[in-house]
Symmetry: D2
Subunit: 166 residues, 4 copies
């Protein structure tokens, strides 16, 4: 019997206009997260970083959770196992970060930035992966709440270190 909730990594990033490189990085990150036995949580839609990371996780036999903006579960990507329909639009971004034990943010626009901001506001650790947010979150960098990784492999090492996982 599994006793406590499964360790969950939130993967945030753009839905539209995402570069091929970012899609590949998201896919690799999803694969690595699943490889560790962790749950991958994302926005759940069939687009961009959400779907690429979920596909990676599924290809490695992982479990994926999608927190949908929509009120219908049918809007979920086919790579999502557990579809949570909030019916709240982007209001669900707050649920994305609260439900993640740690947040990884890939390049995105305002939606992704709102998730980084809400995570930091909630005291949740955020790892930026190939995403330069300028100096707007500098005070959180100084607190050590916001950090930057160069590769998906480094993200995994950081998660293990920060969350004291084997």
């Amino acid at each position: 019997m599994i006793k406590f909730h499964k360790f969950t990594v939130g993967v945030m990033g753009g839905g539209e206009d995402v570069s091929r490189e970012t899609m590949q990085v998201a896919y690799r990150l999803g694969k690595l997260i699943a490889g560790e036995g962790w749950v991958l949580l994302c926005g759940g839609r069939a687009a961009g970083v959400m779907e690429a990371s979920a596909q990676g996780a599924k290809d490695a036999g992982g479990l994926t959770v999608g927190i949908l903006a929509d009120r219908h579960k049918g809007s979920a990507s086919k790579y999502i196992d557990i579809a949570i329909a909030t019916g709240m639009g982007d209001g669900r971004n707050y649920i994305n970060v609260l439900s993640s034990d740690i947040v990884v943010a890939l390049p995105g626009r305002a939606g992704t930035i709102s998730e980084i901001a809400l995570a930091l506001k909630s005291g949740k650790k955020v790892i930026l992966l190939e995403f330069d947010t300028g100096d707007v979150f500098d005070c959180y960098r100084q607190d050590g709440l916001l950090v930057t990784a160069g590769t998906p492999e480094q993200v995994i090492r950081m998660i293990k270190e920060y969350c004291n996982i084997g």
Copy 2:
């Protein structure tokens, strides 16, 4: 690879002042849901029908999702695998029903009644199990959206029939 989101049954019911019989029925229902390979979704707290049904599902090797009123995942029952922290209080009751493919309601008070009402409002099928709600939802009974079951076993048969599952 799993292609589409897993079939999910929402189990609603009281958190406090729940009778021993209702707890046992909730536990058996959770076991049967897991036995079918379905995901059990509930309010996630370590109390009442939520925890009893989740415990039943875990004892049968199932997967459990808890949609928490709290903003911290730590408030989840130990029988919850996937803890979704909404930080929305009872506002999360709407997410409970939207995220369930079908809703089963055991005896409860106003919280459970709000979930039945929100489910019916959303056009989601609701099966009452040993819960008499009087005539307040009669128009939904006539539409066939609200039905009554006598045992957990009958709930499972109804779900298969209504959702066209093997």
Copy 3:
């Protein structure tokens, strides 16, 4: 200068299939609420009890607040002064009741029943006006949290009594 937030009465009730009598009662109730200098809060849409009560309040020179399910303020009735766009669908029903100092419920279907239930769950007083909900909320009647009024005038007297207003 007004020092503390204005006393606010939430008026709930059906949006569709509302009888002419209920519409008239809602209109009169809105007028009386505004006549007392209280704010009228409702679901804000241009339909049913929401709009009838808001129209009554405006015709008596009152102030009206509409908590919209929609994400666009343009979906508000023309009788709404302050339109709050939640983008949350029926998830906003919880905000309706939390934002009301007291709740009055006229006849409605599942949406209205969800509001009564969420109000009672939150410990908020609910006055039923020409709405028979059967015995489903009986334990709240015994606590005195749920009461029944026969006319809009009686609702006003009850509000003054329960809320210790002049």
Copy 4:
């Protein structure tokens, strides 16, 4: 009779660690907004930019709306007329921006940045007042959705221009 919902300006900014200068600017902005007959909407708490701007609006005889993170209306600042209790924590930031016809952002930390991001994501115009967010929102600047003002007086002129008022 007022026919359509009142024009509403959302004022965002820090709750804690706000400089004396920012508090004064917030107060002046609130006064000017009320002077135009517009409603001032903010996060509603008795702290920082929220309270300073609401106080300014009240001192000029205006109407103020506070969208509270809390589930109790009692957490509102005494300068708030209409207290909307969401019980959603920072999830209410999305409602703040959806309910504003235009958003003005003064200096703040992650909460304020989340509101700017959610506003831009929703296609809502944002005016930065003495708040430098670096280059993270540059693509929205190019679209003209994000602009910068130097004084409260300039904010008022911009609002009139962008919203075609008076």
